[in-house]
């Protein structure tokens, strides 16, 4: 055997094993999510969540919503947050040094006045310019913070510092929450019966494009009419109904969407809050919190609830979608790089042995492998080295597998929290699934590759401090 043959063999077997493991993960996730979903539905079929609203023993919660140049919509957004059902609640809006009239609009509408507030920088952040509260008792729950611009992570950290409550719910200010969202989000923290402390709980993100929104409330749900949002609806269904559910059951969840997640404030502070040096601050925080608990040998859990509670607009153009996926890729790379110590490290149990490697191989590496696979394919095709018969068979195989997975996702959606009740919508969703391998998927891979490229470039000239504000459309992974 020549060296080349050995290398070729390693590559072939490597890719073979990779694909088989990946397929098994998919099958496992699909199957494993069923039990978790069923149990969740059974456990909560007659839960009266309003008990939490009527009880004086309910835990206290702060909603933290950072706002940067949101002048056009801020009033509407805050109004909708103030109509959430929860008694022991504080709604903290952090104005991250907006250049527009975000702050002034809030001051005028909500009759705010600056109060003397001793800010304790438990997590180091940029300077807080002022804390505002309303003179009108009806807006008692509202706290507005004005601070120097420092990016989303920094704004969230300021919110954590100011929060006077036990649990925090971090959201994107422009997402639409169901009014009972907090009642449902808090429950997992109270459900604990073993010694495993619930440190964080994630929620589902749903796509609001084409839905009808009145006065900050979602009144009618439609499947997005445009292709990209529709495709993302399918993607989110698969990710949230199958993926997150299975990972939550394993207690291996690494990501809670920045757009909607709840945390135990004490643990967040002990971990020093969000990291403002990464674009993937939402994932990074969860990974760091888990790592902290593992290192302190404290039993813990990260949970997730499948009720559709948070709605957001998904990118409608290739340009914005591309930027979003570019950022997600960089966020993943940065997070995994920061915590590379855990990679197959038995000290971190399931986190180090399964969750981290899964993210490394199948979330972070996948686009790279696909991309180079495609390049290799092109070269081999030009050189006439492709065995076309087996190529087409493999292609068909993998496409059909993808279709099956999507169909299963749609099925699970329909039998659980179905939002798309019209037959036409489900048919369109299925048709959209058919186009995925040819249009959407290659694009997403390409965007991820660009993310890799940007990451490489940025690292080569480090020292240049690029202060990202918020991307216009928030990461809603």
């Amino acid at each position: 055997m020549t060296v080349w043959e050995i290398i070729a063999d390693i590559l072939i077997y490597g890719i073979f094993v990779y694909s088989i493991v990946l397929l098994f993960f998919y099958i496992f996730i699909g199957a494993y999510s069923i039990g978790e979903t069923r149990d969740y539905l059974r456990k909560n079929s007659f839960t009266d969540y309003r008990t939490l609203a009527t009880s004086s023993n309910a835990p206290s919660v702060s909603i933290i919503a950072p706002a940067y140049n949101e002048g056009a919509t801020i009033i509407e957004n805050v109004r909708s947050l103030l109509s959430i059902y929860y008694t022991n609640l504080e709604v903290i809006i952090v104005n991250d040094g907006s250049k527009d009239d975000t702050l002034q609009k809030m001051i005028d509408t909500y009759d705010l006045e600056k109060i003397d507030f001793f800010v304790i920088y438990q997590i180091p952040t940029k300077n807080v310019r002022g804390v505002y509260k309303s003179k009108n008792p009806v807006f008692k729950k509202l706290v507005v913070i004005d601070k120097d611009n420092g990016g989303k992570a920094d704004a969230l950290n300021v919110g954590v510092n100011i929060s006077s409550h036990d649990y925090i719910v971090c959201i994107d200010v422009d997402c639409i929450l169901e009014q009972d969202a907090i009642l449902k989000m808090v429950k997992p923290f109270l459900d604990q019966t073993d010694n495993k402390k619930v440190i964080a709980s994630g929620g589902v993100i749903r796509i609001a494009n084409s839905c009808i929104i009145e006065d900050g409330r979602l009144t009618k749900v439609y499947l997005p009419k445009q292709y990209l949002p529709r495709m993302q609806s399918l993607e989110y269904i698969r990710a949230f109904i199958l993926g997150r559910m299975a990972w939550a059951r394993l207690n291996g969840l690494l990501l809670i969407s920045g757009a909607f997640g709840a945390f135990d404030k004490e643990v967040v502070i002990k971990c020093k809050g969000y990291n403002h040096n990464t674009v993937g601050e939402d994932m990074e925080l969860v990974v760091r919190m888990r790592r902290y608990m593992e290192e302190k040998k404290l039993p813990y859990k990260v949970t997730y609830i499948p009720d559709p509670l948070c709605w957001t607009e998904a990118p409608e153009t290739y340009k914005i979608l591309g930027r979003q996926r570019n950022r997600w890729t960089r966020g993943t790379i940065e997070t995994l790089a920061l915590h590379k110590k855990m990679f197959f490290n038995p000290r971190y149990n399931l986190l180090g042995m399964i969750s981290y490697p899964y993210w490394f191989f199948f979330e972070m590496m996948a686009p790279l492998i696909e991309f180079f696979g495609f390049i290799a394919f092109l070269i081999m095709a030009i050189l006439g080295m492709i065995a076309w018969k087996i190529f087409f068979a493999l292609l068909l195989f993998i496409i059909c597998f993808g279709y099956l997975y999507s169909a299963f996702g749609i099925y699970m959606e329909v039998i659980t929290y179905n939002q798309y009740k019209r037959k036409r919508e489900i048919a369109r969703l299925a048709l959209t699934a058919l186009t995925e391998p040819f249009i959407f998927h290659p694009f997403v891979v390409w965007a991820a590759i660009k993310g890799y490229w940007d990451k490489l470039r940025k690292n080569s000239n480090w020292g240049e401090m690029t202060r990202q504000g918020f991307a216009k459309k928030p990461a809603t992974k």
């Binding site: 009880s55 001793f118 459900d191 019966t193 087996i390 099925y411 489900i426």
Partner: protein
Amino acid sequence: MDNALKKIITPEVLYALSYFFLGLFLFFLAITFINLFVQKWRYFTGLAVKEKINTLLQKALFTMQEDGTTLYPVYNKQELTLGTNAEKQIAIDELIRIRKNFSGESAENIINLYLALNLKEYSKRKFNSGFWHIKARGIYELYMMEQQDAAREIYKHTNNNNEFVRNEAQTATIHFLGFEGLRFLDTMSTPISNWQQIKLLEQLSALEPGSMGNLANWLNSGNDTVVVFALKLADIYQQFNVYNEVVACLNHKNEQVRWQAIVTLAKIADDTTAGILLSQFFKERFTNKLNIVNHLEPVATDNNLDFLLNVLNDDNHLLKLGAANIISKCCTDGMDIIRQKALLEPNPYEPIYRHIKSLHKA
């Protein structure tokens, strides 16, 4: 390509698998559509049942005489027939939802309607089911509809191995027996989640406070969650008679228990409490230190000023702020003390002083 792989992955195998997947794909799509159809059908039959229940409820709630007093409503047989179990379930859910809003005669009328519709039998069947989620629901329905005769049977499940069955059984027992029902805590070996504690306290809050004879025993329970729950009871119902037991809980090894004990102690305080909490302060880690400082308001006096001034000088700002707050509220000329401090050491005491001042204003 490598030979071994070539033998396993032949195009034939791949095509066969692809067709299999495709078949499954179509299968899932098909059952998805069937499901949609069934859901729609159920929705409409559900509407019909709801409509029926609505009419019956009007009758149940508002059969009135001219003088405004209510009469016992009379139903005819035909109105009272419900078909499938699904229909019965919808009817029960509607009745329970409405029943939650009412007390007194209106509630009684709803319960009578539940009986007239023969739904009790259905609930009992569920209660006897072997599936935990069905059993739990059966219990829920029976107590929401005040079926006292099931109380004994249900009580037996208050320590059931399944969390959801025992949760419902506990709630039901309180519902039926009031404070007396709390006796299930005597032998409780399973944990009570926070959620369940909240539910039980809600259930109790609707009742006249009753006797909690075994409270002292619960505070000594080997089951930590029972201790926490008992501490909450002592707090809410101001059980001064268990003061010593609560103090003893400060030595509990579970931090959660100590946390709640501190909170409770502040509520049932006497003139020894301040001293006890202060000495506890030095034994605790940060979270409970802060907890103690934040709960000193009802007990602190000028006698504790030295201690508070010490805490005011602590490195931790949260403790400083807590101490400043207590000094301002509990000590003679407390506000002045803080102001003096702010003059001496403007950083950080100046903003602390202003923070406290604005708290007082609010």
